[in-house]
């Protein structure tokens, strides 16, 4: 027997489990209608794959998982889909959610079932199978199980049979009656997780369940561990602590520490899904409290809760009903809701079992809550911060480490509903974070829009500059063919067109280059630079086009070129180059002016970060323009020299 660890705090509320554990698991007839909500698990609601009026067989997929964090939903029996739409849901908000309504045909006719050869299948296939079978955590949280089996090489698999909340006994009965199937499930899970060790934790107030599990585990290496009865030892983190001594901090996955925790009900569902190909269609529900036939029932998912309570003999249909346990359960706003996969227990309240809570008194900082808190928080401080809406401070004191177990609310002598305050604070913090995210997004989009407007402006400036360069190219072409034939003129026209196209291409290229920059939300300074670059590129393209046009012009008049004296050609070329250079200079100057103007507008805009550097930008641009002009001059000179050389050669 390995040693057991203890966790801080915890409470010992009255158990009230006997009422429902006296009889074996009861079967129920099919209800007249089933209301199967699409949101059966943590994460995304499933996407329906059936239409209204469609006949479905038992086990047929009604909705398929939407993304990774989602699980499929199936028909618990054969029948006809009569509606798909909003229906009351077992959620404290009372908000309706999209629900499939199934009218059973009474035949309970299965679709063909396909078991999975789990010993041969790899982990991915198993996970896919479980997701398609709609297996989710049945301990109350309804986390999709396939994601919990994602880790490999686990040191310890913890099996949760603690069931620490008062009133609930569904896991107890399941272990008593179906221990073999649970152990089958353990085998599959341990195989998938490659678990080194399997520890089954059961509270010592369930001796029959412990005996049954021990019998089923005979011959295996799985160890059934009887743990002291203390709420909330059935919390996954607390049970892992008790059995292994490992504390899983908030925000950390247990698997990262080499542990995983699965509920016995979930393991049973895994066994059914893998060995028999049965999707998760029903579950064991404890129905207790103010009912005449308190027991554990095997209930189809989607069974209307009011109908279920009627079957159990609820004495007053108007009474409040808790889904879950008295510590963490929710008061159901509408009993028309169908049973969700997470619904482990229904308690009809009675004044004897649930006396109304006395009025809240002032907190006297007695510290009983701190002594009871299993997360080792200081609940009275968190309460103070939540009440006075100092959410930042509450977060600093690790509000989100609170598991909402209710131990503090239970012990509070001032009868303060502490968990209500923590839920309120958590809600507010989540909302604030969402608002903040939206605000940041809006700010980014707004800033980008302003950037885009600026960019459009400077692009327009660049276009004007490019057009000027185009004009220059045209003029150059004309200058190059002063006495050209009509054909030459035509070709010159063509060339001008070509130059324009080249300029457009250059612009497009510049734009393309500007795009990644724009994604960085660049400011006005970058805009000006970009515009200048663009203008320069357009100019360069224009110049090239002009040179080509000139050459083409020459080529078009081979006679003339041949007959002309070299000197004349040289003269012409030099002149042409000079004109070109001058044009380019003018264009550059104009472009510089334009971009400077763009700079100024950008600077005038208070949102731009360029405010402080306006004058500097101006200087930079002037300098750049000068450099550009000089470069253009140099290029022209070079071209002229080359022409001269070429002319001189023959």
């Amino acid at each position: 027997m390995s040693r057991l660890y203890d966790f801080h705090g915890g409470i010992h509320p009255p158990q009230h489990k006997d009422a429902a554990t006296g009889s074996p698991i009861q079967a129920l007839p099919l209800p007249p209608l089933l209301h199967i909500a699409l949101a059966q698990s943590v994460g995304n609601a499933a996407r329906p794959t059936v239409a209204v009026g469609q006949h479905v067989r038992k086990g047929e997929t009604l909705a398929e998982p939407d993304g990774r964090l989602s699980a499929a939903v199936h028909a618990p029996t054969s029948g006809t889909i009569t509606a798909i739409g909003p229906h009351p849901f077992a959620h404290p908000s009372g908000l309706p959610v999209d629900t499939l309504t199934l009218q059973p045909d009474g035949l309970d006719e299965w679709q063909p079932r396909q078991p999975l050869d789990w010993q041969q299948a790899d982990g991915t296939a198993l996970r896919k199978h479980l997701q398609a079978m709609g297996v989710v955590g049945l301990g109350g949280a309804a986390f999709p199980t396939h994601l919990k089996l994602a880790a490999g090489q686990l040191a310890t698999l913890v099996v949760n049979g603690a069931e620490c909340e008062p009133f609930i006994s569904c896991d107890d009965l399941l272990m008593r009656e179906r221990a073999t199937s649970i152990v089958d499930g353990i085998r599959i899970a341990a195989h998938a997780l490659q678990a080194g060790e399997v520890l089954i934790g059961i509270e010592d107030n369930k001796p029959q369940a412990i005996a049954a599990m021990q019998a089923a585990c005979a011959g295996t290496a799985y160890r059934v561990v009887s743990i002291p009865t203390k709420y909330p030892s059935g919390g996954a983190k607390q049970l892992i602590r008790i059995l292994t001594g490992i504390e899983v901090p908030h925000g950390t996955r247990a698997t990262d520490l080499g542990v995983q925790c699965l509920n016995v009900g979930t393991l049973y569902a895994i066994a059914r899904a893998v060995l028999h190909g049965e999707p998760l269609l029903s579950r064991i529900v404890t129905v207790t409290g103010a009912v005449t036939r308190a027991a554990n029932y095997e209930v189809a998912i989607g069974t209307p809760l009011a109908w279920l309570l009627q079957q159990a003999g609820i004495s007053d249909p108007g009474t409040d009903v808790i889904m879950g346990g008295p510590m963490m359960g929710i008061t159901l706003p509408d009993l028309a809701a169908g049973l969700p996969k997470a619904g482990n227990c229904l308690i009809a309240k009675s004044a004897a079992l649930f006396p109304p809570r006395p009025a809240e008194q002032a907190c006297i900082r007695c510290g009983d809550c701190a002594s009871a808190c299993p997360a080792e928080l200081q609940p009275m401080d968190l309460f103070w911060f939540a009440k006075s809406r100092q959410f930042g401070k509450a977060q600093e004191r690790h509000l989100f480490d609170c598991i909402e177990c209710g131990a503090c609310s239970y012990v509070c002598p001032s009868q303060i509903p502490l968990v209500d305050y923590y839920r309120f604070a958590k809600s507010e913090i989540w909302t604030a974070e969402r608002d903040k995210k939206n605000a940041t997004l809006a700010r980014q989009r707004h800033e980008f829009r302003q950037f885009r407007i600026e960019r459009d402006k400077s692009e327009k400036a660049a276009r004007i500059a490019a057009r000027a360069a185009e004009q220059a190219a045209k003029l150059a072409t004309q200058a190059a063919t002063p006495v050209a034939a009509s054909t030459a003129a035509a070709s010159g026209m063509d060339d001008a067109k070509k130059a324009a196209i080249a300029a457009a291409l250059a612009r497009a290229a510049a734009q393309k280059e500007a795009k990644p920059l724009s994604e960085q939300h660049t400011s006005g300074l970058d805009d000006a630079k970009q515009a200048a670059i663009q203008a320069a590129m357009a100019r360069a393209a224009a110049r090239k086009a002009a040179a080509e046009a000139a050459k083409a012009g020459d080529a078009a008049n081979p006679d003339r070129a041949a007959t002309a004296t070299p000197a004349q050609t040289g003269m012409d070329d030099a002149k042409r180059a000079a004109i070109e250079a001058a044009m380019a200079r003018a264009a550059a100057r104009k472009a510089a002016a334009q971009s400077a103007q763009a700079d100024n507008t950008a600077a005038a805009n208070p949102d731009s970060a360029a405010t402080a550097t306006t004058s500097q930008t101006g200087i930079d641009d002037a300098k750049r323009a000068a450099i550009e002009a000089a470069m253009a001059r140099a290029a022209a000179r070079k071209a002229a020299a080359a022409e001269a050389k070429k002319d001189a050669a023959p």
């Binding site: 950390t252 006297i364 701190a370 002598p413």
Partner: protein, 341 residues
């Protein structure tokens, strides 16, 4: 429909907690009444009536519900603690004034129960000892010869029936006698303690009262209404200062036992430093808070101007509570420094 997240609760209320605290005071009150006469009971009555009246009046001014606040009995606890700290035969206006200060300025101006940074009873006591040091020093003579009627007459009218001796009703406390004796010089602590006023263990009559407080405190601890950390740390603090001094110069300094049984040491350990509202709440914080109260108490008793110092020690440490709590936050489950097996 119930809005609460947790559907069941322990059948405990603040009123029941306070009622148990009052019950735990009863043995001490009985011994007090036996030693110092039924005047103690009149003081308790006066304090209770004043406290409830003052609380009701302020709540009405603040437009808050009166009955639930009175029913929580916290005002009565404050009143009793205050009455038991005051001289048993003090004039009626003293206890009334002290209670008014305690309830109005010590508690309600901060927002009532749960919001007061200072221990209200100690606020009332401190105000009185600063304002009326002479009257506060005139303690009742233990096992007085004065009958009940004369005592009550003295408290209410400040006159005595003919033939009574003032000495029979009023004498300085042992702490006072020791302090003035040592200040005047000539006599050692040992010689002073030979006087009959000091009895067998340094406080004739008073030691039984002190032990009765300790009994009440132990019962509260057994009932899980007070933590063990604060009182034990306080007694450790008393010991930590008084023992070295006594070992060093027994002629000048009283023994730890003397400090333990005199003044309000044990009353404070059981009922005053354990006040949850104004005390520290973290496990380590409770140790620090209690220990420093004990240290300060002896230091002020020995080196300060006032004979007893529980009130000042507690009030000073009350001021430090937010800081202590802030810096002694316990480790949260799974957080770093955790017990990873």
């Amino acid at each position: 429909m119930s809005i609460h997240a947790t559907h069941i609760a322990r059948p405990v209320t603040v009123s029941r907690v306070m009622l148990k605290v009052l019950a735990a005071l009863l043995p001490g009150i009985a011994v007090s009444a036996y030693c110092f006469g039924p005047g103690v009971l009149l003081q308790l009555l006066l304090a209770t009536v004043t406290a409830l009246g003052a609380e009701a009046a302020v709540l009405r001014l603040r437009q808050r519900p009166v009955t639930p606040a009175l029913a929580d009995l916290s005002a009565v606890v404050t009143a009793w603690l205050l009455a038991l700290s005051m001289p048993p035969l003090g004039a009626w206006w003293m206890i009334v004034l002290a209670t008014l200060f305690a309830i109005v300025l010590g508690k309600q101006v901060y927002g009532g129960l749960g919001h007061n940074p200072f221990n209200p009873a100690m606020v009332g006591f401190a105000v009185m000892i600063v304002s009326f040091p002479a009257q506060m020093a005139a303690w009742g003579t233990p096992l007085t010869t004065l009958d009940a009627a004369a005592q009550l007459q003295w408290i209410v009218t400040h006159t005595l029936p003919a033939g009574s001796n003032l000495d029979a009703i009023s004498s300085a406390t042992p702490l006072d006698v020791l302090k003035t004796g040592l200040l005047q010089g000539g006599q050692t602590a040992g010689q002073l303690l030979q006087q009959p006023r000091f009895g067998h263990w340094g406080n004739a009559g008073g030691e039984w009262v002190a032990l009765a407080w300790a009994l009440g405190g132990l019962w509260l601890w057994q009932q899980k209404l007070i933590p063990w950390r604060t009182p034990l740390a306080m007694l450790a603090g008393v010991l930590a200062v008084s023992l070295p001094l006594w070992l060093w110069q027994p002629a000048h300094y009283a023994s730890p036992l003397f400090h333990l049984l005199n003044g309000a040491t044990l009353l404070a350990a059981g009922f005053i430093v354990t006040d949850p509202v104004s005390g520290s709440t973290t496990p380590l914080g409770r140790l620090i808070f209690g220990f420093l109260v004990g240290v300060l108490m002896v230091v002020i008793r020995v080196f300060g101007g006032f004979p007893d110092a529980v009130a000042f020690a507690v009030l000073i440490m009350n001021m430090a509570v937010p800081f202590i709590d802030q810096t002694t936050q316990p480790r949260v489950f799974g957080r770093k420094g955790g017990r990873h097996a």
